[in-house]
């Protein structure tokens, strides 16, 4: 992400448009220049890199673009470290104590430095007076040493840049509305995990046919819209890019120091925006149990279609994301959730969710190995329409189909 001073936005009425670099040869050349600069600077201190960047920025007015690219090259692909024979704060204490009272006498200062170097050598930290003087402020950011750099492809850096500019718009957002359609449950689960991780709250409305509306804000938004959650919303954007079908509208309060800014501004984006996420797509939600079931279902002869793209089942404060959706050509459809997992709290939560959802188009496939009574779950409390299928070891598609038709 980029600091506010490197964001480049313009307003089209109330609409906010972040800076976007074309993936053109010109942009690539600019990115390559910066990548090369970092690659050549491994082993050098940060202030030297800054000086070289300043030369590269030159007197052009697009220096902010270059500075933005450099910022991302550094934060995402580079490693900077403190290099000093001794922890710098401790080193300073030793050097300044040794040289106390000698500030006006160059020869005495040099002797004091040499004495500290000798002491350190005796402690197994060989060094020289000059090296110590050099390392005195090794902990200041500008003196950090670039120790490693993994050069990205120019396009990867440009993607980062475009994403970061879009994220920057959201810093000032106080409400984010996402319209999501049927999506892969793994994608949904990961998105909601990030919502929780970044401390956001959601209200979910709607249905699969018209799209689900996810309104995102934070705990205190209830009393007053707050831009405080904008940073979290910005962090969420790369997670949203990993979901297949969505659109978003953010409402935001522009900085007061921008004379061109309207009172309230709007930012919209959708899944065709072409921005590229650097968050990994995580498929660990797809358990072996579900994969095996999907494979067996393919072999089963039935008119029912098994879909991975599911409905969200809204719940207060969260959403339930079933594993599969079963659709019949005649229009009937059911959501299938496989419960093969055994932690008691998980079971209690899962059954409480189903009970609260009020849905009657749910099928729960529950492993017989689970000790539901022991976990404090009472099957009788489930809503009347919910169908229950028990299975041992593996879940047989036939059992599920029987429950559907039964």
């Amino acid at each position: 992400m980029l600091p506010s001073e490197l964001l480049m936005l313009r307003y089209r009425g109330e609409e906010l448009v972040p800076k976007r670099l074309e993936l053109s040869e010109r942009s690539r050349a600019m990115a390559r220049e910066i990548i090369d600069l970092y690659a050549e600077s491994v082993g050098r201190p940060k202030f030297e890199i800054e000086e070289r960047l300043e030369l590269l920025e030159g007197e052009d007015t697009d220096y902010r673009v270059k500075r933005g690219l450099a910022h991302l090259a550094e934060t995402a692909f580079a490693q900077l470290e403190v290099r000093s024979p001794l922890e710098p704060q401790a080193l300073r204490e030793r050097v300044f104590s040794a040289s106390a009272g000698r500030a006006g006498d160059p020869a005495a200062r040099a002797r004091a430095l040499a004495a500290v170097a000798e002491d350190l050598a005796a402690e197994g930290l060989p060094s020289s007076g000059a090296a110590l003087q050099e390392a005195l402020y090794a902990d200041l950011p500008e003196n950090h040493i670039l120790t490693a750099f993994e050069p990205p492809e120019p396009d990867a850096l440009l993607h980062r840049y475009n994403l970061a500019q879009a994220q920057g718009v959201l810093y000032r957002a106080f409400e984010l509305v996402i319209t999501a359609h049927r999506n892969d449950p793994g994608e949904y689960k990961q998105l909601f995990r990030y919502v929780k991780l970044f401390g956001l709250m959601t209200t979910i409305e709607g249905d699969a046919d018209h799209g689900f509306t996810l309104t995102l804000d934070g705990p205190t938004s209830l009393f007053r819209p707050s831009t405080r959650y904008g940073l979290s919303m910005a962090k969420l954007l790369p997670a949203l890019l990993n979901v297949s079908r969505w659109s978003l509208t953010a409402t935001l309060r522009p900085r007061r120091d921008d004379p061109n800014a309207p009172e309230t501004a709007r930012f919209t984006l959708d899944s065709d925006c072409g921005l590229v996420s650097h968050y990994r797509k995580d498929h660990k939600f797809d358990s072996i149990l579900e994969e095996a079931f999907a494979a067996r279902f393919e072999a089963a002869r039935t008119e029912w279609q098994l879909e991975r793209e599911v409905d969200l089942v809204p719940l207060p404060g969260s959403a339930m994301i079933p594993d599969f959706r079963l659709v019949h050509p005649d229009g009937r459809s059911y959501l299938l959730e496989i419960v093969g997992y055994w932690r008691p709290e998980y079971l209690r939560r899962k059954f409480a969710q189903v009970a609260r959802s009020g849905r009657s188009d749910l099928i729960l496939a529950v492993s017989e190995r689970l000790n539901l009574e022991g976990a404090g779950v009472r099957v009788s409390e489930l809503p009347p329409g919910v169908k229950l299928v028990w299975f041992k070891g593996k879940l047989d598609p036939k059992a599920v189909l029987a429950a559907l038709e039964g």
Partner: protein
């Protein structure tokens, strides 16, 4: 039996569930559809519970995470009359309110006495790192049995007694909100800003103390302090308190001459800048002219080049080698004397520190190191200290007999405060203040303005620094039990 109504803390808010059989709480709570619970702003904690208590209803309080502080017997100076009155007024206001006292009138002691009285986990919020260091030193001395933690300035402690900057406290407001029973806001006029007000809003702290010399804000937001902290409970002006004293020192101004190379480069840069300014018809004398220059520098290549030239020229004038030569001379002349070196930019501070092997303090120095450096300067282990502008306002600067100003900005107040606070006669010698100025550069004018002079001015009268209020009456510390305490 029905589940007891429970109050929990959720990231800057309170959740009350299930709803208690009472009515007073409804005025604080809002139904939150997202979780199907009632929610209240965290700062409603005290009125909410007071209301319920008045109705004779108990709820399970899972929100409060603050704890009693074990404050042993410890020495603190006798409070002056105004300090005692301030504490009494705050206590009478049930531990919520703002105390307005002039700089130097000992607001810190009022806060320490309040802390002693409440004796619960306490968060102290300060605007600058130097104030943070000062509170840290003061708390260590006043409460030797307690661990004092810092949040901000290179530290990220997590202690029941914590000193934080406004920035850090605001960033962590959701996490800190239920951990402190008492909030102390130093220079509390900073609190109402959009970014920092959440420190008060997201906190449940039943006790709150604001301290300031000048709570008024141009944007009128100081009116919010009543809701965020409490009403102004005590107020004294400098005239009502202060005495006068003159420092005993002399001033000496030394012109540092640029080397030939520096001179040539400086002239070329200024020439380049001025050509651009003339073309654009910009005059730098006023703030408006400067703003136009900044704007122009973002719009065109030539403007940016002119701005870069201006910066480099300024760097030559302020950081010139010749000044370091003068500094070397002065340090040799005053070897062994308590010497403070001031400069405006951090790069120069670190350069001096590295070349002359003297400890430095800038706004980037970790607070604990800053504390150690000042302590050692005070006790003489470090006779010389170099610093940027961080030692200016409201800070106990240790006394010195020599001050060397290598460069500075044009703020008159800054200069006055530097002079008045620092210099004390030592061992029969008159204290001295040197101002080292690069000859024949823009800096000469800055220096004149800094002294409050017109470009060619008369001699300077040393300003009269404020002195602490005379000690009128030695009375025992007022220990008034806090009533709001069953939490």
């Amino acid at each position: 039996m029905a589940r007891p109504s429970t109050l929990t803390f959720d990231r800057g808010t309170l959740v009350l569930h299930p709803p208690p059989k009472a009515r007073s709480w409804l005025e604080h709570c809002t139904w939150d559809d997202r979780v199907e619970r009632f929610r209240a702003p965290a700062q409603a904690y005290r009125p909410l519970l007071e209301g319920l208590r008045a109705e004779g209803v108990t709820v399970l309080d899972r929100a409060a995470a603050f704890v009693p502080l074990e404050i042993g017997p410890a020495a603190h100076p006798e409070p002056f009359v105004h300090q005692r009155e301030a504490l009494e007024a705050w206590t009478a206001a049930e531990g919520r309110g703002v105390v307005v006292l002039p700089t130097g009138a000992g607001k810190t002691l009022v806060a320490q006495l309040a802390l002693r009285q409440v004796a619960r986990s306490t968060l102290i919020v300060v605007p600058t790192l130097d104030l943070m260091q000062q509170w840290y030193a003061g708390l260590l001395a006043a409460f030797p049995g307690l661990e004092v933690g810092l949040l901000g300035g290179g530290s990220r402690d997590d202690t029941p007694l914590l000193v934080a900057t406004y920035d850090s406290a605001a960033i962590h407001a959701e996490r800190l909100g239920n951990r402190y029973g008492l909030l102390i806001f130093d220079e509390c006029h900073h609190l109402p800003a959009d970014f920092s007000r959440v420190i008060a809003e997201y906190a449940i702290a039943p006790w709150r103390l604001g301290l300031s010399a000048t709570p008024e804000r141009a944007d009128q937001r100081h009116e919010d302090l009543a809701a965020l902290i409490g009403p102004t409970v005590y107020r004294r002006s400098p005239g009502e308190l202060a005495g006068q004293a003159l420092a005993d020192y002399r001033e000496e101004r030394i012109l540092a001459t640029l080397s030939d190379d520096e001179r040539a480069r400086y002239d070329a840069l200024i020439e380049k800048r001025n050509r651009f300014l003339a073309e654009q018809n910009i005059r730098l004398g006023s703030l408006e002219g400067w703003q136009r220059f900044v704007k122009a520098s973002g719009r065109s290549r030539a403007g940016r080049a002119a701005m870069l030239a201006h910066r480099e020229a300024r760097g030559i004038a302020f950081g010139t080698e010749s000044k370091l030569r003068v500094l070397a001379e002065l340090l040799a002349r005053h070897a062994g004397e308590r010497t403070l070196i001031f400069t405006d930019d951090n790069a120069a501070v670190y350069r001096v520190s590295r070349e002359f092997l003297v400890p430095a303090i800038t706004h980037r120095t970790p607070v604990k190191e800053r504390h150690a450096n000042l302590e050692r300067f005070r006790d003489g282990r470090y006779p010389v200290l170099v610093t940027s502008r961080v030692l200016n306002e409201g800070v106990d600067v240790p006394e010195a007999s020599v001050a060397i100003v290598l460069s500075g900005t044009a703020t008159v107040r800054e200069y006055v405060q530097r002079l008045g606070r620092i210099l004390r006669r030592q061992e029969g010698k008159t204290a001295v203040l040197y101002e080292v100025v690069a000859e024949n550069t823009a800096e000469e004018n800055v220096s004149r303005r800094r002294r409050g002079e017109e470009p060619l001015g008369a001699s300077v009268q040393p300003p009269a620094p404020a002195r602490p209020v005379p000690h009128l009456e030695a009375d025992e510390t007022p220990v008034v039990p806090v009533r709001w305490e069953d939490f």
